[in-house]
Each structure stands twice: as C-alpha cells, then as structure tokens.
C-alpha cells in the first residue's frame, strides 16, 4: 500500500472509529422508530424509506404521528421543516474546513446533530486531503445504522424490545457520553465555562418542561446571549480586550 493509500485508509478508519459510539444511540432509537412506524400503519419498506430520505430522528417520529392522526399534509411538512431548522447552522460552521468539491453539499444529507458535533471537533485536526474520507466514513456508518435499525425495528421490534429490554435502556447513554467528550475540551475559560453550563442547564430544564424540539435552539440562543453579556462585562472590567 502506498503512503497516499495508507493515509486515505487511515482517514476512513478514523471516521469509522469515531462514528462507532453513535451506534449505541442510533440503533435502539431507530428500532423504536421502525416499531412505532409499523404500528402506525406504515409498511417496513415505507419506514425504511422515511429513515433513509428524511434522516432526522425527532421529525420522523412527528411525521408518522401526525400522518397517523390525520393531520393536514401541509402542517406535517411545516412542522417537519421547523424541527429540522436547527440544521441551518451546521453547514456554515464546518464550511471553513471543507474543500470546494461539489460533493460536499450532497454529503450534507449525512449531517445529523451528532455527526456535526463530531465533525466540528475532528475536521480541524485532520489534514485537508483526509477530511472528505473521514466525513464519508463517519456519516455513512451513522446513516446505515439508522436505516438498519429502522428495518430491524419494523420487522422484529416487538420481539427485540421484549427479549432485551435493558439494551434499549442502557445503550442510548452513548449519546450524552459522546457529547460530553466533545464538550470537555471547550471549558477553556471562565466565559466559556459559564456559557456551556448555562446552556446545558437551560436545555435540560426545557426538555423536562416538555419542550423537546424547541430546547436545543432556545438553549443555544440563551448560551450565545450569555456569552456576549459576559464578554461585555469582562471588557468593561478590563479583563479582556478587543
């Protein structure tokens, strides 16, 4: 294997390794989605296509619930897009690390909350030539695991959840653990520490209040506001310049 091939394969391998923790969170949730979709009257093939084409967890659950309850189709479309609107900040944030390849916009189909969080941490650490390989590998594993989990849930979800109830309870902890590892290096200053802690607390409280879909954008906006407030205060006290 040439050194170029070796570097390429190591970027792909690194992407696969980085995406592995996602499986613990994705597969149990996708199994639940497949099971609920079939129980709501969708076929296994339809459930898999919803997962493959929309590929956005919360909005998929809403999609099948609204369709099953007979909601107007335009409202289903609006609500789906509203829930997924948070994705608009992901692409711009990783744009500085991407080449001008015309494939990147297409590859954004694989950009989920978790893939974005991973990419935002990992892409700056990789050489430019390795970034697309890393991203395709990580995003493909996540996407395929979501599709496979949905198929499994649609075909045998009831049996799986009855036989291994603890699996669905324990494995999803991989997602908060992954976010925690991605966040840990960002506690670099008093300003960032307060911003992060306040954002986490706001999201937690909003979720406990039942505002599952609004929690992420609202808490993030709270965090950004606090960041600027702290910056103004630190500037006024002369502790930072600029």
């Amino acid at each position: 294997m040439s050194s170029v091939d070796a570097a390429k394969s190591s970027a792909w391998q690194q992407g696969a390794r980085d995406a592995l923790p996602l499986l613990g969170g994705y597969i149990p949730v996708a199994i639940s989605f497949g099971l609920i979709a079939v129980q709501s009257g969708f076929s296994a093939l339809e459930s898999v296509l919803i997962s493959a084409l929309i590929y956005a967890g919360a909005s998929q659950f809403l999609f099948i619930a609204m369709v099953a309850s007979g909601a107007p189709l335009w409202l289903v479309l609006v609500m789906t897009l509203l829930i997924n609107a948070r994705h608009v900040v992901y692409g711009p944030n990783i744009a500085p690390y991407l080449s001008n390849s015309r494939w990147w916009p297409l590859l954004m189909h694989g950009s989920t909350d978790q893939i974005f969080a991973l990419a935002h941490t990992r892409l700056p650490q990789l050489a430019e030539k390795d970034r697309m390989g890393w991203y395709i590998s990580a995003a493909l594993i996540a996407w395929l695991s979501w599709i496979a989990g949905t198929a499994l849930g649609a075909l045998a979800g009831a049996e799986i959840t009855a036989r291994w109830p603890l699996l669905g309870e324990v494995m999803p902890f991989a997602l908060p653990a992954l976010f925690l590892v991605l966040l840990a290096p960002r506690f670099t200053s008093v300003q960032w520490t307060f911003t992060m802690l306040a954002t986490i607390a706001a999201a937690l409280v909003l979720k406990l209040m039942g505002m599952t879909n609004a929690a992420i954008p609202l808490a993030a906006i709270c965090g950004v506001s606090l960041f600027y407030l702290l910056q103004a205060r630190l500037k006024a006290e002369g502790k930072i310049h600029g």
Binding site: L20, G91, Q114, F116, F173, A177, T195, I216
Partner: protein, 115 residues
Amino acid sequence: MDKSLWLLLLACAVGTFLLRALPLIWMRRHLLRRSDNNGAATMPVWLTVLAPTMIAAMFGVSLVPAQPAVSSWLATLLGGLCTVLVWRRTRSLGWPVCAGVAVYGVVVVLLKMIG
C-alpha cells in the same frame, strides 16, 4: 401510502436536505468573496459561538433519561463522571464513551437488583 403521502415524504426529504446543504453553499460563497477581496476568510463571530452552544444544548437534552427516575438520574451522574475521568486520562473519543455506557449499565442493573 397513497400518492399524496409519497409526495409529502419527498417534500419533507428535499426540504430537510436543503436546510442542510444551502447554508453550507452560502457560507462557502461568503468565505470565497472575503478571500477574493483580500479580507480574512473568517466566519461571523456569533456563528462560531453558536456551534459549541448547540452541542452543549444537545448534551443537556440528551441527559434526560427516557424514563426519568432517581435510579436513571444516578446512573446518568455516575456514567457521566466516569466518562469525564476516562477522557481526562486518555483524551480519546471511544474509550470514555464505552466506559461511561458500561458504568451506566452496571448502575442500572445493580439498582434494579436492589430495588
């Protein structure tokens, strides 16, 4: 699914894809314009602050267990603590997550055996 539902599925899929792809295209053009004008190819500051806060918000939301109970909160706390401790030692991505999930699972099982 009838024809209207297939169209709805396609509209949701295309709309979600555009939400993901169009802002990237817009930012790439913005960065190119800045570098063509000999300016620094930088992103707006608010956007660079928004990204880590979005990740922090995702973390906050994901902390809430599917069935909130004292046992799940305790497992979350201990699993999170173990994740951080292993991260401080290894500075890696996979091992802290594995260790955190393992501790979370052990605590859940132990609490179920006790209670």
